[in-house]
Symmetry: C2
Subunit: 403 residues, 2 copies
């Protein structure tokens, strides 16, 4: 008998109607004879409502108390879904983080699941029960409620799949899978049937908001097969495997883009060991996420240019921190808002020469200027003017045979 984790995201439990629909999906899975652990997010919008309330109380709302409040979002959807299942005659029961318990470590608002007790729930499953568990939360070793960061319900689902050794982990969401690019903007975007963890990781860190990156990472680490599928259709969705189980007929799997970026360039900084650390340490300490970093080879042997991207709403704070930084000798700092990052991702790239060239040529044909480039084994990213985003994505989607 198969043991499965089914995770329902915020939009999949976003209204009473949708909760009743999710209950039907679970009922059908039970008819297939599976043992089921259900992980649910908060009803869509509720977490933001709670955060807004905390901000109205204080701009610096206590982090422990924020976790106490945020955890109620999933608690409510757990209860509603369990009630809906009971109404269908199914022996379902909600299990709160402290009842299991789900143990976490790390700071409030950003903890990690380290373990959970399996005995009580396994006994309940053995008796034919369906366990409904709130995502995104746990308790610390001191017995405080913790949350594991936004989108953390995916991480809970994968952690449960690992710790309960389930046969699969299915992520029910409002899209019917992972697409070759944004289907809302590019009508030719195609659903990808199978993708590797690495590609999925690149795509989700690049703005494809289908699954949370750290959850994919955990799945990759423990080789847990994932499936992303829609709550609203019967289509099979996208399966996420390890690379070895896939064949690569296509070199490029998807084209991703993110639009809220800004670029900062430090010109003629001293080219000496430790300079990058001197620049980025104060930014990191101020919770500014650095994305791409490009450092060119020094032309005069003494100075170099360093370019990096940050989220656009971090730009002012970043510039302030850089200007205050006494360790940076030459402070010719320029920046550019309104840039976008376009990336092509594909596990097949490693073994296929000429992908980089083909990408740059294609952008040139569209008269799109490349402001910065960064590559990894399975990804090439470029920074361009934001206004050219869609033109670039369409062109790349086309020339890499994704249409």
């Amino acid at each position: 008998m198969k043991k499965k984790v089914l995770k329902f995201g915020g939009t999949s439990v976003g209204s009473i109607e949708r909760i009743l629909h999710a209950a039907k999906i679970i009922q059908n899975e039970l008819k297939n004879g599976s043992k089921l652990i259900i992980v649910v997010s908060a009803m869509s919008g509720r977490t933001n409502e709670l955060i807004d309330m905390s901000k109205s109380v204080s701009n610096n709302f206590n982090k422990r108390e924020l976790d106490v409040m945020l955890s109620t979002g999933e608690q409510v959807s757990c209860s509603l879904l369990s009630g809906a299942l009971n109404d269908l005659g199914i022996n379902a029961k909600s299990w709160m983080n402290w009842q299991i318990p789900i143990l976490t470590e790390g700071e409030h608002n950003n903890s990690r699941i380290i373990n959970m007790n399996v005995d009580k729930i396994n006994n309940f499953l053995k008796d034919g029960g369906v366990a409904v568990i709130p995502g995104y939360q746990g308790i610390s070793t001191t017995g405080d409620i913790t949350t594991i960061g936004r989108g953390g319900s995916d991480a809970t689902a994968v952690a449960i799949a690992k710790i309960f050794d389930t046969d699969s982990c299915e992520i029910y969401t409002d899209v019917d899978g992972v697409y070759s690019t944004d289907p809302n903007k590019i009508p030719l975007a195609k659903k990808i049937d199978k993708i590797s963890y690495e590609e999925m990781l690149e795509l989700s860190s690049l703005g494809a908001k289908v699954m949370q990156s750290s959850a994919v990472q955990t799945a990759m680490m423990y080789d847990i097969p994932l499936q992303v599928r829609s709550t609203f259709t019967d289509r099979l969705g996208t399966k996420i495997f390890n690379k070895e189980s896939l064949d690569y007929s296509k070199v490029v799997t998807g084209v991703a883009y993110s639009k809220d970026d800004a670029k900062i360039t430090l010109q003629s900084v001293e080219d000496k060991p430790g300079i990058a650390a001197d620049i980025f340490e104060p930014l990191g300490k101020n919770q500014i996420n650095i994305d791409m970093v490009i450092q060119n080879v020094s032309s005069d042997g003494k100075t170099t240019d360093i370019t990096f991207t940050v989220k656009r709403n971090d730009i002012e704070k970043s510039l302030e921190i850089l200007n205050k930084n006494n360790k940076i000798k030459s402070k010719n700092i320029s920046f550019k808002n309104n840039v976008a990052k376009i990336s092509i991702v594909g596990a097949g790239m490693v073994t296929t020469p000429g992908v980089t060239y083909k990408m740059f040529r294609a952008l040139a044909e569209e008269k799109i200027n490349i402001l910065a480039i960064s590559t990894s084994e399975i990804k090439i990213s470029v920074i361009i003017e934001e206004s050219s985003t869609l033109k670039a994505v369409k062109k790349l989607h086309n020339i890499f045979n994704l249409d």
Copy 2:
């Protein structure tokens, strides 16, 4: 140093503004050097929102899961108030029912607090902390979340006052105390400065929605002085003591009325032992609350008339159950919707003759017909036509010198 319980009701934490205001009240109490345990209700309206959601899922929503959901209401206000206190530089911390724990027994949705652990919270108070605790909930001996019935936050506050042996228990609410009658309808209504537990019990069971009856009962049993006061004014409110500490210059303390009543009369039922039980047992088992019961002396020695009141929305169900009841031989059942119960309450009544007569005479002067009468040591209730409610209340308020 005084140890106090302050309880903030739903309207007192009903918005961010009000939560910030409650935090200020707590800050002032701390300046007076008190050690404080705070009990909070859910933000006003939230419990009903959650109940409505459960009803949209199922008309017969699982009671265990309902408790899981309802308990989140107080959890959110606990967190918000703790965060607001932290923001004022106060070492406040929320404690969930399972973290304390608050142990309950009895059914879901209607449990009773039987005990709670005091050590962790007492240590926290000793270190200068302010403990913020959700009202209306606890956990069962099996570790499930339970709630203790609507309005149960008062009961939590009184239970904490008892178990932590505090010096007082102050109920912050949206009215500035207990009134001689409904101040919204009778402008001459006066705030009562001091009242006995017994009178308060009669008044609150008669529709004065200031405090939950079972909480007053517990306070009476353990002689815990209560104070009902407004969150929105500095007035002292109403103190609730035991009878011995009060003097009675007035015979009648208050006039109460409830309007959603209906009257049922069973004529010529067999006058034999057990007949009342035969009538009321099936009603009780169907969760129908019986209020007043009047049985006249049998005139012929064989049959008697029994009149009782129920809430108006229970009338149809009640009649159905009575008609099905084979143990009632004579079934001449009549009923009347649109009746109201008017009560005068006063601990001084016991020692003052003529109160009953004075009440009936006053109603007669207003040409108000009395449909049924019931008396206790400190209360006289009459059933009248609903349309005469205000006229009756005004008259009684006046003749018993309460204006």
